[in-house]
């Protein structure tokens, strides 16, 4: 019999009940909750007179709506200027109080983007099933967990039953062999993967990222890759547990200690695919061949290496794709045949659950250190992923580097990743963004997003247009 993949192992260890029709009841170890997708779930519990099955399996934090401006933020929930945002954050506070769920409130130092907070606090651990009403829950798979986004009905379902009804996904291995060049990061690697398989390439699969590049990658980098597996269509991305994982988890506030740690470590060491495991699909990339990536269009698969030239729709034979290219070029205000390096961002956004961890901020700071942002840049925002990341960055003096370069240093939250708070693009503005989605209007009505790594965003901030960061690092 063939061995098991990491996904198979996680699935089997959480199987409560397999049903004849192929669906299964899967036990959920951890649910993370934020203010946007939970109000209707709590309301549903109330209407049905239900209580959470296990309140200590849940952890809540407001992130999408919180202001990142220090002044507005300092007044707490009551000071949120937008009344609709304020109501949503207040509703989370009330629901957590009513149902006795632990919440890191708006100005708690542990507050931050839910996908940064979970691993950072040790609230998400290897071997867990993790869900959250947010598609980027795939991030937590970097720890060797089965983690995926769910809708609000499922948030309610997981609260009420500690389970979800699931169909087993297929197995895909994305293996990146060799090494990444200096200046090329996890973000570039995952964008290259999406460019290769497309935004629907992973639909129906759980992706395991492996190969030498991933083995040598930090936990932050692995989280960036797993975070964007949903942009390749896969609900879940994951990486096998190794020493890097264990070193990251050890000592985190909610991580096990002493003999519990010893026992956990033994179990966690098993969390990798067996050598003879069969994958339904295997995709292989060479690390050396990956260049810094920049998206030019309105879907993450519309991505090119920084030295690339924008596609010509006339040269595309598939009509659906041709129309998509035409529409994207038009929306982005770009010409077929022009160069990526000709694009001049109006704003820079360094943040989001993809790239707002300490390593990301260090990479950006290294590029802007001793330099100034170009005069054409209207705004360059740096938004740490959590209060803890912010504190760490300030201890290292990174904030001073950003401020001296002419960038803004903000309070933690989702911010301009989806512009639910005051941080937005104006219509027609281009943004070099370290977030994960370049959909039309995502960062503001009519806004134009280019997805890049933190180092590439910082390089664009300094140069005033996209440039190969490797040239600046020499």
């Amino acid at each position: 019999m063939a061995g098991k993949t990491l996904y198979d192992k996680l699935w089997l260890s959480h199987l409560v009940e397999a049903r004849e029709d192929g669906s299964a009841l899967i036990y959920i170890d951890r649910q993370l909750i934020h203010e946007v997708t939970s109000p209707q779930a709590f309301e549903g519990l109330r209407l049905a007179g239900r209580q959470p099955w296990r309140r200590d399996a849940n952890l809540a934090v407001p992130d999408h709506n919180v202001p990142t401006d220090s002044l507005e933020r300092s007044g707490g929930v009551a000071a949120i200027a937008d009344p609709v945002s304020r109501l949503q954050v207040q509703t989370l506070d009330e629901n957590c109080a009513d149902f006795d769920i632990v919440e890191f409130e708006i100005n708690d130092v542990r507050q931050g983007i839910v996908h940064v907070v979970g691993p950072e606090q040790g609230a998400t651990l290897p071997g867990m099933t993790v869900v959250c009403g947010d598609s980027h829950t795939s991030t937590h798979g970097a720890l060797g967990a089965l983690a995926h986004g769910i809708g609000t009905s499922e948030v309610e379902h997981a609260l009420a039953t500690q389970c979800l009804i699931q169909q087993k996904m297929k197995n895909m291995l994305v293996r990146i062999d060799g090494r990444l060049q200096t200046g090329v990061t996890a973000k570039d690697a995952v964008l290259a993967v999406i460019g290769e398989i497309g935004t629907a390439g992973g639909t129906g699969y759980a992706i395991e990222f492996g190969g030498e590049v991933v083995r040598n990658m930090s936990m932050e980098g692995r989280m960036t890759m797993c975070n964007m597996s949903i942009e390749a269509g896969a609900r879940a991305g994951m990486v096998a547990v190794d020493d890097t994982t264990l070193d990251y988890v050890r000592g985190r506030p909610y991580a096990p200690r002493d003999d519990l740690w010893e026992r956990a470590e033994v179990a966690w060491r098993e969390l990798h695919s067996d050598d003879d495991a069969q994958f339904d699909r295997v995709v292989v990339l060479r690390g050396e061949e990956i260049k810094p990536q920049v998206t030019w269009g309105t879907s993450p698969e519309m991505v090119l290496p920084v030295d690339g030239v924008l596609p010509d729709p006339a040269a595309e034979e598939n009509p659906t794709r041709r129309i998509a290219i035409e529409r994207a070029l038009q929306y982005m205000g770009l010409e077929a045949g022009s160069r990526i390096t000709d694009i001049r961002p109006d704003r820079i956004f360094i943040g989001s659950c993809t790239n707002s961890r300490i390593e990301d901020l260090r990479a950006a700071a290294e590029v802007v250190k001793g330099r100034k942002i170009a005069p054409g840049i209207k705004q360059a925002l740096v938004v740490p992923g959590s209060g803890e990341v912010k504190r760490q960055a300030e201890a290292e003096g990174l904030h001073t580097i950003f401020l001296e370069a002419g960038m803004e240093w903000r309070e933690p939250g989702c911010s301009m990743c989806l512009a639910m708070n005051a941080d937005k693009l104006g219509a027609g503005e281009h943004c070099a963004s370290t977030s994960n989605r370049n959909f039309e209007g995502r960062q503001g009505f009519g806004g134009r997003t280019h997805l890049v790594s933190p180092a590439m965003a910082a390089a664009a901030a300094v140069a005033g247009h996209f440039v190969d960061v490797r040239a600046m690092q020499e």
């Binding site: 029709d21 071997g127 995502r442």
Partner: protein, 215 residues
């Protein structure tokens, strides 16, 4: 949840691939703490010429005259014809809520994003998968025929065109059952409460570090 058996209704087009959840319902409307009232903001950026805000009265906003849902011939549509990878992007259930609130009970497309597909069933919407060529044909017939109506039969698992042609579709048995009966799946799962408790006890003995930590 509303049950779904057989519906007959006007089909309307969403003729582009990779329609994402931001396009279905822009994020500014996610700030609502309710489940209903999203219909007027379905496809907001395509449907109106100005920028939509929560609380703004949509009845006097300027309509985009080129957007199909604004055309007289598609008024009252309950079936949405769509292209590949419909519903990609976020997990927000506001997307099916908006489609349902607008009046769509069924979507027909060659493929969907996983989370969206799943969310539809939880909200009384049937996402039908038909082959690309068939979807193409339905699009053409719809464009050619004003008042084009389709029948979607869930018990029989087929879509029927006005000419009486039938196309079979697949749907997973459990989801079909829940949709036909309009069942709340939390209630169903709670019938397995003893099995969940048994599992939980075993799992707690095996992995005690996963329990009682968040408090």
């Amino acid at each position: 949840m509303k049950s779904f058996k057989v519906i007959e209704g006007i089909a309307a087009p969403m003729d582009r691939a990779n329609v994402d959840t931001d396009l279905i319902i822009p994020k500014q409307f996610l700030k609502s703490i309710k489940r209903s009232g999203f219909g007027p903001n379905l496809f907001d950026e395509l449907r109106y010429l100005d920028e939509g805000e929560p609380g703004k009265d949509c009845s006097d906003r300027p309509l985009n005259p080129e957007f199909p849902l604004n055309l007289a011939r598609y008024q009252g549509a309950s079936i949405l014809l769509a292209r590949e990878n419909f519903g990609c992007g976020s997990s927000r259930e506001h997307a099916p809520w908006a489609l349902e609130d607008y009046g769509f009970r069924c979507i027909i497309a060659p493929s969907y994003a996983d989370i969206f597909y799943n969310n539809c069933f939880k909200n009384g919407i049937l996402p039908v998968v038909l082959e690309r060529d068939i979807v193409d044909r339905l699009f053409r017939e719809m464009y050619d025929t004003e008042g084009y109506r389709l029948i979607v039969d869930l018990p029989g698992q087929f879509v029927a065109t006005p000419s009486g042609e039938q196309f079979h579709f697949e749907v997973d048995a459990f989801r079909k059952h829940c949709l036909l009966e309009g069942l709340d799946d939390i209630g169903l799962t709670l019938q397995s409460a003893p099995a969940i408790r048994d599992y939980e006890q075993r799992w707690r003995e095996q992995s005690p570090w996963l329990f009682d930590v968040i408090s």
